[in-house]
Amino acid sequence: MINDFEYFAPKTVKEALTLLDKYRDDYKIIAGGQSLLIIMRQGLIKPEHLIDIKGLSELNYIKFDAKKGLRVGALTTHRTIEKSPIIKKSFGVLAEMENRLASIQTRNWGSIGGNLCHGDPAGDPAPVLISLNSTLTIASINGERNMLVEDFFLDYFETALEHGELLTEIQVPTISPNTGAAYTKFNVIENDMATVGVAVSITLAPKGGHCKDLRIALANGAPRSMRAKQAEELLRGKKITDHLLKEAGEIASAEADPISDIHASAEYRQELLKILVNRVGKEALSRAKKP
């Protein structure tokens, strides 16, 4: 049963930030509510003030230019991202990931910002964004700050967002040439939450084909979305072979710290990470090699 709260539907970001500052001790922000309403319905949280930002059209946009890269307003829905021609063309892995996220209904109403702020380590967008070296902008009445998406997650359902702050934009740098990015999650039921998920982005050197840079990010590999940095170390600067990818999988699996729950044991999750890092790495590599 949802508690009685005081409801606000600000029309501008400025208005929203003012409200967040005013009620900084007891408020919750609702955007699409696809995660929030579940916990509120169970009475697990009972905010005195609910700030509904769903109507802030200011934060609903997808912009791209070669210099600044991709900028996505925090309130852009998953479905909009999934179907955006710009994203499909130049950031295809994002559209692919959204296509497998939950259900069409959830994607129609839930926002990318809401998903990130929920801080679920099993979430799909975070590892993909991390693998693309994405950043985000957080606003408050006092100004703005930026950070890497990979630094945004602190612990289970805990992010770096402070009281009075609002996530406003996600930025994905233009993808360099000779880069391939892919994401796969494992689940028993398709489109379900990831038992584990792996995102890999590989940039190859133009001649010689060795790995100039790469990022490996994991969903549900730990209490927070994480990069498998040791596995990256193994591959960075080298010519990536099948053998190396297999080894990278083993290292990533070892540096991960997945939980055991009713869906899978930690050991099984580690097995899956081994396999997925290898497979997704292969896929990213093959995409990087495409002209």
Binding site: I2, N3, D4, F5, E6, Y7, A9, I30, G33, Q34, L37, I38, R41, Q42, L50, D52, K54, G55, R79, A102, S103, I104, Q105, T106, N108, W109, E190, N191
Partner: protein, 159 residues
């Protein structure tokens, strides 16, 4: 304190006063008496409560009613055109695409919203369209057959 909610449902404009913690499904069912849309879970997982809002399939249990302010909502009751059933409804009847019927409203709205957006889908896309809706009776395949029949134009002349 109740707040004003203005929305159009099945072509009919409404002006209501609702508590902010009301969900859209509650307003549709309790305030407007449109009980065709059902509820099946507390975890936003079953899709039974799906309605069409501004052309998009959404879960009406996972949205505050006030978030539908200014929106155009279509529920199962709004699919038929006067006395004429929507092609999907006719197809569901012919293909036995329902059994107990409790998930049917959500299936129809999901299918309609999807086909309005993607009139010539692949088999895989049709399955995706209703992947957010659980059915315990049919095994889904009859629903896909009904959708395919509509896509193939079997019900063209009735509209």
């Amino acid at each position: 304190m109740k707040k004003e909610l203005r929305l159009t449902v099945n072509g009919q404009p409404y002006e209501l006063y609702v508590k902010p913690n009301s969900l859209l499904v509650e307003v549709l069912r309790n305030d407007l008496g449109l009980t065709g849309t059902k509820r099946g879970c507390e975890s936003s997982s079953c899709g039974i409560c799906t309605v069409i809002l501004n052309g998009m399939a959404v879960k009406s249990c996972s949205m505050l009613a006030l978030q539908a302010d200014g929106a155009e909502v279509v529920t199962v009751e709004g699919l038929a055109n006067g006395g004429k059933l929507h092609p999907l409804q006719k197809a569901f009847l012919d293909y036995g695409a329902y059994q107990c019927g409790f998930c049917t409203a959500g299936m129809l709205t999901s299918a309609k919203a999807f086909l309005d957006e993607t009139p010539k889908p692949t088999e895989e896309q049709m399955r995706e369209a209703i992947d957010g809706n659980i059915c315990r009776c049919t095994g889904y395949n009859s629903i896909i057959r009904a959708m395919r029949a509509v896509v193939n134009g079997e019900y063209e002349e009735t509209r």
